[in-house]
């Protein structure tokens, strides 16, 4: 008997707990720029349950906006309340260099803290600034990886020209280009970067507003370098997950994107002090 395909199951509204889905790009709470429904961690976990998402990797909104310390407290509270369900990103503001070491020492030893999230636009700092370089040095020393917001050429803080300049100096640090560059031209550039640099990866959220389909990225990039992220709760988790479930990829590609590629990344950059 032919097994039911993921698409057939999705059309029947199945829940995909068997895929052990890991969402590598989530936030927590609400930001200032626009409204979306309230998203406390317990609500996010309820939504994850409905889609069969096993793990959420979070960087609270506050962490990438004006109060990164508050954001890190929220992250810590969430991973303690939901061990095994929530991973956290340490959020750092590049203008607070004197606090880096204390922040790394406080949060990085916690197993569920898997890396660093930076949002140059949120903190209004160019990704090639001194503060970020110091952060990347710390990650190089302590392990984990960096999830960085990216966008198009109009973004003065983290367009891909700046990203490439900053990231190529740290070949031992793994970087995820969040949103894969975000705009139609920048996605093309992001594809070039992941092909050129072994330490640079992509995620699947954000560039969905462009005319690039997920199929095209899997044809143009090393497959294992594409990670599933939804930007939940900026974006609805259902939307991010169904983008993969209803795509024209093979079932094994869907499973790879939703889980296996992330596990490979995590194994490839263990933290030294966990």
């Amino acid at each position: 008997m032919t097994p039911t395909s993921i698409l057939e199951r999705a059309l029947s509204r199945d829940t995909f707990s068997d895929l052990h889905i890991v969402d590598a790009h989530c936030h927590l709470g609400t930001g200032h720029e626009f409204y979306h429904a309230q998203a406390a961690i317990e609500q996010m976990i309820r939504e994850a349950d409905t889609m069969g998402v096993e793990k959420l990797c979070i960087a609270p909104e506050a962490g990438i906006e004006c109060d990164y310390k508050y954001g890190n407290e929220l992250m810590l509270d969430s991973i303690r309340r939901y061990p095994g369900r929530v991973y956290g990103y340490l959020c750092l503001n590049p203008f607070y260099e004197d606090e880096f070491e204390r922040m790394f020492d406080t949060y990085y030893p916690i197993e569920q803290v898997i890396g660093v999230k930076i949002h140059p636009g949120g903190h209004r700092a160019r990704i090639d600034c001194e503060g970020y370089q110091k952060i990347f040095h710390e990650v190089e020393k302590r392990g984990g990886f960096v999830l960085s917001h990216t966008w198009g050429d109009a973004d003065a803080y983290c367009n891909l020209t700046l990203c490439e300049e900053a990231m190529r100096r740290f070949p031992n640090v793994r970087f995820i280009l969040a949103h894969s560059g975000g705009t139609v031209e920048s996605v093309k550039r992001a594809v070039q970067m992941v092909n050129r640099y072994p330490h640079i990866f992509l995620d699947t959220c954000g560039f969905d507003v462009t005319e690039h389909w997920i199929n095209e990225l899997t044809e143009q990039c090393p497959f294992e370098k594409i990670l599933f992220g939804s930007d939940f709760p900026y974006h609805d988790l259902r939307y991010g997950v169904t983008r993969i479930l209803f795509s024209n990829l093979t079932d094994s590609q869907k499973a790879g994107l939703l889980h296996e590629n992330f596990e490979k990344l995590l194994k490839g950059c263990p933290k030294t002090n966990a």
């Binding site: 698409l7 999705a10 059309l11 509204r13 720029e33 626009f34 409204y35 979306h36 429904a37 998203a39 409905t50 889609m51 139609v184 031209e185 093309k188 969905d208 507003v209 005319e211 690039h212 389909w213 997920i214 199929n215 095209e216 939940f232 709760p233 900026y234 974006h235 609805d236 988790l237 259902r238 939307y239 997950v241 169904t242 983008r243 479930l245 209803f246 795509s247 024209n248």
Partner: protein, 258 residues
């Protein structure tokens, strides 16, 4: 569940090729995802020769029964559409299912001083008007104009396409105040936006639209199938709302709506 997509297009594109090139490609993708019908325009009507694009859309629809033509219009009825009679004749002859406007790319304001004749016609026909602008290009003034149009022409179903995830603070108040204001599902992706609009203003205000093949249609099918709303509301969004609007169109020539 049936799905009728009110936001699809065919034709060439730049700066990259779109993933679906032909009507046959589109029909295959629709069949894969269970989309029964799609309202299409041709990209030439948007970004090249308007009248040639409109003719291309109706020709394609004639050859592909799963596709329904959408006519791109501007406020210049006399100069671009042969006057009111010319427009009506085209709409009736080709059973146009909706009119689509590109105020930003076609350089006109939606303010009633400019669109009164067009919207008077749309009102007479009860024709759904699809307003197209990508999310980040809308100004606050455009929302003012949308609100004013909805109030002044309550018989015109005004559909904001691709409302995006940053628009709640603008579209929720219009949804609250205007029964004839609708949004489509393409990039209606803010957390629980579908659920909130349904709960606060009614599922009647949401139409299934994908912006295929610019955007990937499957995710919008999935978003509705997995929505945290009743089956009845899902059906309204997926097809019943547009079927209802379609049944209300008045074609002066050639009988009733399809």
């Amino acid at each position: 569940m049936r799905f009728i997509d009110i936001n699809a297009m065919l034709g060439e594109w730049t700066p990259k090729r779109l993933f679906l090139q032909t009507a046959e490609d589109m029909e295959k993708e629709m069949a894969r995802l269970g989309i029964e019908k799609a309202y299409i325009m041709d990209t030439k009507a948007w970004l090249s020769e308007l009248s040639v694009g409109n003719l291309a859309a109706v020709q394609t629809a004639k050859e592909h029964p799963a596709l329904r033509p959408v006519m791109v219009m501007t406020p210049l009825l006399e100069q671009e559409f042969g006057g009111r009679e010319g427009a009506v004749e085209f709409i009736c002859r080709h059973r146009v299912g909706a009119v689509r406007l590109f105020p930003l790319d076609h350089n006109f304001t939606l303010h009633p001083w400019n669109t009164d004749r067009l919207f008077t016609l749309m009102s007479d026909l009860r024709m759904p008007v699809l307003i197209d602008r990508m999310e980040h290009s809308a100004s606050f003034e455009e929302y003012d104009q949308l609100y004013r149009l909805c109030r002044e022409y309550p018989d015109v179903p005004v559909v904001l396409l691709t409302p995006g995830y940053r628009s709640a603070r603008m579209i929720y108040p219009i949804l609250e105040k205007c029964a004839n204001f609708y949004v489509d599902t393409s990039l209606l992706i803010a957390y629980r936006a579908v659920e909130e609009i349904t709960a606060c203003f009614g599922a009647e205000h949401i139409l299934f639209g994908t912006r295929m093949p610019y955007l990937e249609p499957g995710t919008f099918v999935g978003r509705i199938l997995y929505a945290d709303i009743s089956e009845e509301d899902k059906e309204k969004i997926a097809y019943k709302n547009i079927v209802r609007l379609d049944s209300q169109i008045r074609y002066p020539y050639g009988g009733n709506s399809q």
